[in-house]
């Protein structure tokens, strides 16, 4: 191969370029052409195409050899590859796995002050963080001891915002290591890099830091190194300050020189951290003066400034420049230009905290804390008042709280009086605190929610079903409102073992808030802890503990719902609360019910059987348990659909379960969904109108039930209500962004509308694992219609190879269309025969029938084509707009039989239009 390549890549510079370019274009063309051919055809194709140019042939062949390897090559982005390299390196360089009772689990990160590892304390059975101090900082025994003393003093504080130091140990090699509380979260630095902070969030963080500083200063401890890297934010909204007292190790009187020098040294030892730390030094620290507690106040002021503006007040090109800026320059016009939405009071606070002369600064952290707290209180009152303002075009109607709507019901006069009053207060507060739009008012604008999988707090894996079942029940319960988009069960269960924080998951799911927590069952009691986290700010909006008798579990769920509705300020659907109160449940039956739901979603034959068994036991123990009947119906439906098609007895049992569920609870969305699925089958000749009615009813009761939306879109697509099918699919995607079925339906509908290009990109974006046969046949159809017949043909061959049974003859029938369009009549007829053969006994045959009609139309055989079109429509696919516009039927347009057929279809379609 080497010699031939030289032909391509050597010769004099100019001619080389021209020559190569031309040759290369040829290589490119042939490579792609060869790729479109099957492996067997390639050799022959290339030999023919490259007659007289052996070098060209070998060049293309040598590239084609790498076809298989290329499949996954460089498919993960480089950043991921590099990160994995780094991870491998970090894992490999982890120190000895066991130190005293601490077992190292993984590396957490590296800072200027040493490598940090996550470890398990095997004695106390808890997670801890181990920080290995650089020897540079521990060689001075006096300082080390002083640091240890201070660490003990800080530990004695046990302040909630201070990361506790458990102990300082020395390894056999003489390395020193701080054992401290493990804080699961992100640093303020990471948070600041993500996106700007809201005023409320920044204020909340500053208050927590000030509170910790105030406690520490009270016992004479100074932090000396407050900076975003040393502040951890936990997902639950708690903040923890790290490395308290650590600065003691690098005090000025050590032989290392000034702190500034030490820090510069520290920076040199760990590039990548890059001087971040100098920016938070106080002027007295930068000058190397003796420090008191007021240095921490300065640093907090700088951090607060950065949280509000996204920028540091003192910057420069080098550490020295920064230090000069700190010592001499006034920061650029502060919040007025950089954070216009911040209240002026906040600006005053920040300015006072970073006064260069420490005597004019806040003198104590307590003083600063006090001002911050007062401001927060006033802002919250301001925000409350904002919410009571009547809806204006800009303000969101949903922000009106339920309290307000209760007033509204009670008395109009009272409301008017209240409004006048609140408006006056609002005006006053607004004028005082806000220059522009207040941010905290957005805190309550929650229109979408994800219930994250509840943790199984029992630690007993056998109770997983209970935690999962409760999660599911909460989703189901909360979803029953059209005022709130609640992410579907499938979309949240992906995060069951996720390590991301609730806010991160919330951002990924694009919701305003997440509900997270844990649940545990002990004998006959159930305990749950729940919290509502506001995703944009990470703030904890609400937290509650519940402890109830298991029989009272429905009341518990209703209570959670009521509490949340209250908190979020939602309008609820009127039928929500049952007239006779929430019924007690039979504890054993409920347990079986949760077990049943747990297995129901797993959808293997075995799990389906387990689900049916559990749900049958549930209804046996409590025959009045409506939800269990509804779920049992669903379980039967899945069995019918997946494992036992056409089993008459099972179908009857399913219908009975639906009826029982609806008799006990006429508002069971699941029962309507099950009935829709039971009705819309080949055996029933696909009764579209009845199925639509059932799914619509299910959605009226639970607007977030995306399974019902998928089904509704399916029916709409079949009757040619394309716009409606697209709409329902889009809606289904809002509650589960990875709803592959909805994506597929969009692709299919676009195909039926003739938007093949768009269909192709939608269908190709569906992950490969998701029903490749189903997705593949639509891709093939799009390719064929785009004129990419060879690609379509290759894809069909591959599909047939992977699914030789070709259920319903779907693939074979598209092959018939391809052959017909190529004028290969004999092949087409054979494929049609084969497709019919394969479709025998297969109910959902109407798509195959339609392809056969298309094949006959393309062969210009109108009589057969119309016969197959009639079969298509009669068998459940009366898709008039498709028949009217599909160019594959163009040969029929003048045919009398077709004209009559189309007119009849149009009439039918007019009827469907009245019901969608």
């Amino acid at each position: 191969m080497g010699d031939e390549l030289k032909l391509f890549y050597s010769s004099s510079p100019i001619t080389h370029h021209l020559f190569m370019n031309e040759q290369w274009q040829q290589v490119e063309r042939l490579y792609h052409a060869a790729r479109e051919r099957s492996a067997e055809e390639r050799a022959a194709f290339l030999t023919e195409a490259c007659v007289g140019d052996e070098a060209l042939r070998q060049e293309v062949e040598s590239l084609l050899q790498y076809e298989d390897q290329a499949e996954n090559f460089i498919d993960s982005p480089a950043l991921e590859v590099a990160a994995k390299m780094m991870a491998a390196k970090l894992s490999a360089t982890a120190p000895i796995a066991l130190i005293n009772q601490y077992k190292i689990i993984s590396a957490l990160g590296a800072g200027g002050m040493g490598e940090v590892f996550l470890a398990q304390d095997t004695r106390l059975n808890r997670k801890v963080a181990l920080k290995f101090l650089p020897e540079l900082f521990t060689k001075d025994k006096l300082h080390l001891r002083r640091f240890e003393q201070e660490a003990r003093a800080v530990a004695a504080l046990s302040h909630p915002n201070v990361c506790t130091i458990h102990e300082v140990i020395e390894t056999e090699e003489g390395r020193h290591c701080i054992v401290m509380e493990y804080v699961d979260g992100e640093t303020l630095r990471q948070r600041l890099l993500e996106k700007p902070m809201q005023v409320a969030e920044a204020l909340d963080a500053a208050i927590q830091v000030a509170s910790a500083l105030s406690a520490a200063h009270a016992v004479g401890i100074i932090h000396r190194d407050i900076k975003p890297e040393n502040i951890m934010l936990r997902p639950d909204g708690y903040l923890k300050i790290l490395d308290f007292g650590l600065a003691k190790l690098i005090e000025k009187d050590s032989d290392l020189g000034t702190e500034a020098e030490t820090k510069a040294l520290e920076l040199k030892t760990s590039p990548g951290i890059l001087m971040g730390t100098v920016a938070y030094m106080s002027p007295e620290q930068a000058r190397g003066l003796a420090l008191d507690a007021r240095t921490d106040i300065w640093s907090l002021g700088v951090v607060l400034y950065e949280m509000l503006t996204g920028q540091k007040p003192f910057e420069g090109q080098t550490p020295t420049d920064v230090i000069i800026s700190i010592a001499e320059r006034e920061p650029s016009p502060l919040l007025t230009s950089r954070a216009p939405e911040a209240p002026s009071e906040l600006e005053r606070i920040v300015t006072k905290a970073i006064a260069k002369d420490r005597d004019t600064r806040y003198q104590t952290a307590a003083e600063l804390l006090n001002d911050l707290r007062n401001l927060r209180r006033e802002l919250e009152i301001g925000a409350e008042v904002q919410r009571y303002k009547p809806a204006t075009p800009e303000s969101d109607g949903k922000a009106i709280t339920s309290v307000f709507s209760k007033w509204l019901r009670r008395s109009r006069a009272l409301v008017i009086a209240a409004l006048v009053g609140t408006l006056i207060i609002a005006g006053l507060l607004y004028a005082r605190f806000w220059r522009r739009n207040p941010a905290p008012a957005q805190l309550t604008a929650i229109k979408s929610l994800a219930v994250l999988p509840l943790r199984n707090a029992s630690g007993d894996a056998a109770q997983d079903y209970f935690a999962e079942g409760m999660t599911d029940a909460l989703i189901n319960n909360l979803a029953k409102t059209d005022a709130l988009r609640v992410m579907s069960r499938v979309s949240v269960m992906r995060y069951k073992d996720a390590r991301s924080s609730p806010s991160e998951i919330g951002r990924e799911l694009k919701v305003d808030a997440v509900l997270a927590g844990s649940v545990m069952r002990t004998d006959d009691r159930v305990r749950a802890t729940l919290e509502l986290i506001h995703v944009p700010t990470g703030r904890n909006l609400w937290r509650a503990d519940y402890d109830r008798d298991l029989r009272d579990i429905l009341t518990l769920q209703a209570q959670v719902r009521r509490d949340l509705v209250e908190k979020i300020g939602l309008k609820t659907l009127p039928r929500q609360e049952p007239p006779n109160g929430v019924p007690l449940v039979n504890a054993e039956a409920y347990d079986e019910y949760l077990r049943g739901r747990f297995y129901l979603y797993r959808q293997t034959r075995q799990d389906n059987a387990a689900a049916i068994a559990a749900l049958e036991r549930a209804v046996a123990k409590d025959p009045n348990f409506a939800a269990a009947h509804a779920q049992l119906a669903q379980a039967y439906v899945w069995k019918l659909f997946l494992f036992a098609p056409g089993e008459k007895q099972l179908e009857e049992k399913a219908f009975v379960a639906v009826e029982k569920a609806l008799a006990l609870d006429p508002d069971s969305a699941d029962a309507y969904l099950a009935r829709g699925r039971l009705l819309w089958t080949p055996a029933n000749h696909f009764p579209h109108d009845r199925a639509i009615k059932e799914y619509r009813q299910a959605l009226a009761l639970n607007p977030n039930l995306d399974e019902a939306r998928n089904q509704l879109a399916l029916v709409y697509c079949h009757i040619g209500a394309f716009a409606e099918a697209l709409r329902e699919s889009q809606l289904a995607l809002t509650t589960d962004p990875n709803n592959n079925l909805a994506e597929f339906r969009i692709g299919q509908t676009l195909n039926f509308q003739g938007g093949y290009d768009e269909a192709l990109s939608v269908l190709r974006a569906i992950p490969q694992g998701a029903n490749p046969a189903l997705v593949g046949h639509q891709i093939a159809w799009a390719l064929f219609n785009l004129g990419k017949k060879e690609e379509a043909s290759a894809l069909l061959e591959q599909l047939l190879k992977n699914n030789p049974e070709d259920a319903g003859g779907l693939f074979t029938s598209i092959q018939a269309v391809l052959a017909a369009s190529a004028g290969q009549e004999r092949v087409a007829e054979n494929k049609i025969k084969l497709a019919i053969e394969k479709g025998k006994g297969f109910g959902h045959f109407h798509h195959t029938a339609y392809h056969i009609a298309c094949a006959y139309a393309l062969m210009n055989k109108p009589e057969q084509a119309v016969k197959w079109l009639e079969k298509t429509a009669d068998d459940g696919f009366p898709c008039f707009p498709l028949f009217e516009t599909d160019t594959n039927l163009n040969n029929l347009r003048q045919d009398a039989g077709f004209v009559t057929f189309l007119a009849k279809q149009k009439q039918q379609w007019e009827y469907y239009k009245t019901i969608v």
């Binding site: 290369w24 792609h32 390897q69 950043l79 991921e80 590859v81 590099a82 890099l193 540091k312 080098t318």
Partner: protein, 194 residues
């Protein structure tokens, strides 16, 4: 000095695109920060196989690094191109450092068998890939750009098409051919090394 803001990132990229090499030193810590963040995520994964999440994390990291939406770039396409070049430079430098460290024998032996989820893949050799990519640029500049933007820059097919002003179909075809070409090139260098 400190961590640049999104706005500064875009200015730094402009400066670097205009030939100011020192701008890269300021960008580097950012990329390293994201690398470290991702690396720790991989390490703390208790179970392998969370591929969906991993992809999301990587995408997020790219987004944070190149927030073109926040940067008021007059020429979005140009921005994409420059940011991909930056990622290539920094990541390849990173990989090169790691290699020289290994060759110098100072670092501890990396025992990959201990790290269950990290398999040594062909594409792990970023340095060799970078060289092969430079060779590809000689033959077909556009294809090397496609790889640079997709693999190093994390851009989508659509974005690459926008930068190069060609159809997405063309980008995909370029991508395909570039991959086999690079694989062949890498094979050549392996054989010639030995």
């Amino acid at each position: 000095m400190s961590q640049p803001t999104p706005n500064e990132i875009s200015q730094l990229l402009v400066a670097w695109g205009g030939g100011d090499e020192s701008a890269l030193d300021r960008l580097m810590p950012l990329v390293y920060g994201e690398l470290r963040r991702l690396a720790h995520r991989y390490m703390s994964q208790e179970r392998p196989g969370h591929t969906l999440q991993t992809t999301a994390l990587v995408n997020e990291a790219y987004l944070r690094l190149v927030k073109w939406r926040e940067a008021r770039w007059q020429n979005r396409a140009h921005f994409f191109a420059v940011s991909a070049q930056m990622m290539r430079r920094i990541l390849v430098d990173f990989a090169r450092d790691k290699q020289s460290l290994k060759r110098g024998g100072h670092a501890l032996e990396v025992s990959l068998s201990q790290v269950s989820d990290f398999t040594v893949e062909r594409d792990a050799d970023l340095v060799a890939l970078d060289e092969a990519l430079t060779a590809l640029a000689e033959v077909d500049r556009r294809k090397s750009k496609v790889v640079e933007m997709r693999f190093f820059g994390g851009l989508s097919v659509k974005e690459v098409a926008e930068v190069l002003k060609v159809s997405e179909e063309t980008v995909l075809r370029d991508w395909r051919l570039a991959k086999v070409w690079l694989l062949r090139e890498l094979d050549k260098s392996v054989t010639s090394d030995e």
